[in-house]
Symmetry: C2
Subunit: 329 residues, 2 copies
DNA sequence: CTGTTAGCGCGTTCAA
DNA sequence: TTGAACGCGCTAACAG
């Protein structure tokens, strides 16, 4: 394997000089920069990040923590998109990410996790699927031992950012739009899991909307479960004008229930997952670009690595109408 | 951060001795072993794998290469299962895996990829979603620079294993079962993508079965596409007794077509994905435990790391009948 | 601006 | 059976 030493020799400079041009240090003449780059190119040299990490104690390594909720299946698509967006961007930005499924390390205490991750050279965390109940993740974050980005969270501090869409506005808009399209007044809202950060925002959007439009609003907790949404719909939808759901999965449950009840009610979802096409009907929903969210999470992590302060990042979304035939391939 | 040095000091031995007990070297007295282990425990010492890798040049690090086919969506669930199985087992066995989406490095030549991965300290590869067309992956494998495990492949050599279920037998059995249950004779088989390894096996199973049971067999290439399967079904299913598909996704396409044609034909899928429940009908399929396959792939990689020869690993599967209401949660 | 040097945490000879 | 010493490839002072 060819190392920095070879490059130094070939370009006739010292190892440290090579290191400097590699890391874009100031105080290197353009001339030697060129020489070194030339040698790097000729030798097809690729820096060894392992050694760099060991030496600098600053790795730019991030642990991608996936807190998969085993009770949702649409989440596969969503998580996969987050993942692919994040991992691809990480490769571009030269940050190494290692994926962990949280179930696997959940038996450790926060301290143990910190020690473990630190000893593996991680100094960044990207958390996907975190809920309000994950106290040891909270501890991880509060320890400020890592630069952390929480996807779909709301926590920020000096070393912690979060990225998501503006769930409040998105829920408000899609609901308003669907309600106006269908001239409804009595609304059934099926909310997602209580412990999820996004649920609160979406629910409070619905409350505002109900006030603003003078609607009758019934809110029930669907726990992000298709089955639960199905039951709730069976029970309450008959004397409502519309069913609005906090996720596509629940919207599917609601639609299937409506079909069995043999009544029509407009249904509105949230997320824009492909799965939604499979119910064979048309439906309004908020489409999130999960890959883009994942990518921006890495971007934000990079910012934190560079010493900038944590902040909240809000990304764009789309209001769309999905239909089976538009989706299948 | 506490290092091997601290452990050495605490247990009153040399660094190298600690290293030896860490790596289970012979010629260490039980007595000192105990002392060292004691110190490790007391200090909550966790070895730094980065440093170990740098020092030994043998990392036990593996790159998890996901060749995602952007044209299938059920694959999200499947890939996610592979991933989670592999990553969890990797943590248990102490092999570090870093995930790559192949699209991201596909612009590099095989040589470049090798250099890149080597310089990052990888000496193992786990490939998911590889097809016969991926020549640069072939080159990667043939270079024998890495210990490699191919999921759902058939390539083996000294440093290369592959793991999957027995696709031939599984296809044979599920088709035979469904045909007997419904007493069919004229079979439409919609095959998966030509360049996928599993497709050949499944097709040849169907050929054998047709011969053994004296069936009329029409084979069409559905390219693992729901839409394509839909079209094929529209075109050919009317004068067939059954539609057998090389994947659940295509089975869904077929079933939707049959519904629109308003005729009944038994349909048979392959994979056992959750998505299949969403069509709202009952269907025979082969259920694969993808997480288990992923986990076994890591196990196999570990074997290769230990210097054992590559081989083909066949894992169990199940013949099942899936129905919507059994699946939703 | 450039080169020398001292580690980073660990594995691995080679003497003792 | 143990330990001292070297080096993996690189970064970071520091001296020049």
């Amino acid at each position: 394997m060819i190392s920095i030493k070879d490059v130094a020799k070939r370009s006739g400079v010292a190892i440290s000089t090579v290191s400097k041009v590699l890391n874009n240090y100031p105080y290197v003449s353009e001339e030697t920069k060129l020489k070194v780059r030339q040698a790097i190119h000729e030798l097809n040299y690729v820096p060894n990040t392992i050694a760099a990490a060991l030496s600098s104690k600053q790795s730019g390594r991030a642990a991608l923590l996936i807190a998969m909720n085993p009770r949702t299946q649409a989440i596969d698509e969503i998580t996969m998109q987050y993942l692919s967006g994040a991992i691809n961007r990480a490769l571009e930005l030269n940050v190494e990410v290692v994926t962990f499924f949280l179930s696997m390390i959940a038996h450790m205490s926060a301290e143990e996790i910190i020690r473990y991750l630190k000893s593996q050279g991680f100094d960044g965390l990207l958390i996907i699927g975190m809920t309000k109940d994950d106290i040891y993740l909270q501890q991880l974050i509060e320890s400020e031992e890592f630069c952390t980005v929480v996807v779909d969270g709301i926590i920020t501090n000096k070393h912690t950012s979060c990225v998501s869409i503006d769930n409040y506005t998105a829920q408000y808009e899609i609901a308003k739009k669907t309600i106006i399209e269908n001239t409804c007044r009595r609304v059934l809202y099926i909310a997602g899991r209580r412990n999820e950060y996004v649920t609160d925002e979406r629910v409070s959007a619905m409350r505002s909307l109900a006030k603003d439009m003078d609607l009758t609003l019934m809110i029930r907790n669907g726990e992000s479960s298709e089955k639960k949404a199905r039951e709730i719909t069976f029970r309450y939808a008959a004397n409502k004008d519309i069913v609005i759901c906090g996720s596509d999965l629940m919207a599917i449950g609601a639609m299937n229930a409506l079909t069995e009840m043999d009544i029509f009610r407009p249904v509105c979802g949230f997320d824009g997952v492909t799965l939604m096409g499979y119910v064979g009907k048309q439906m309004n929903t908020v489409r999130q670009d999960f890959a883009n969210i994942g990518a921006n999470a890495i971007l934000e992590l990079k910012r934190l690595f560079d010493g900038e302060a944590g902040k909240r990042v809000l990304l764009p979304y789309e209001l769309v109408k999905l239909y089976y035939l538009d989706i299948i391939r």
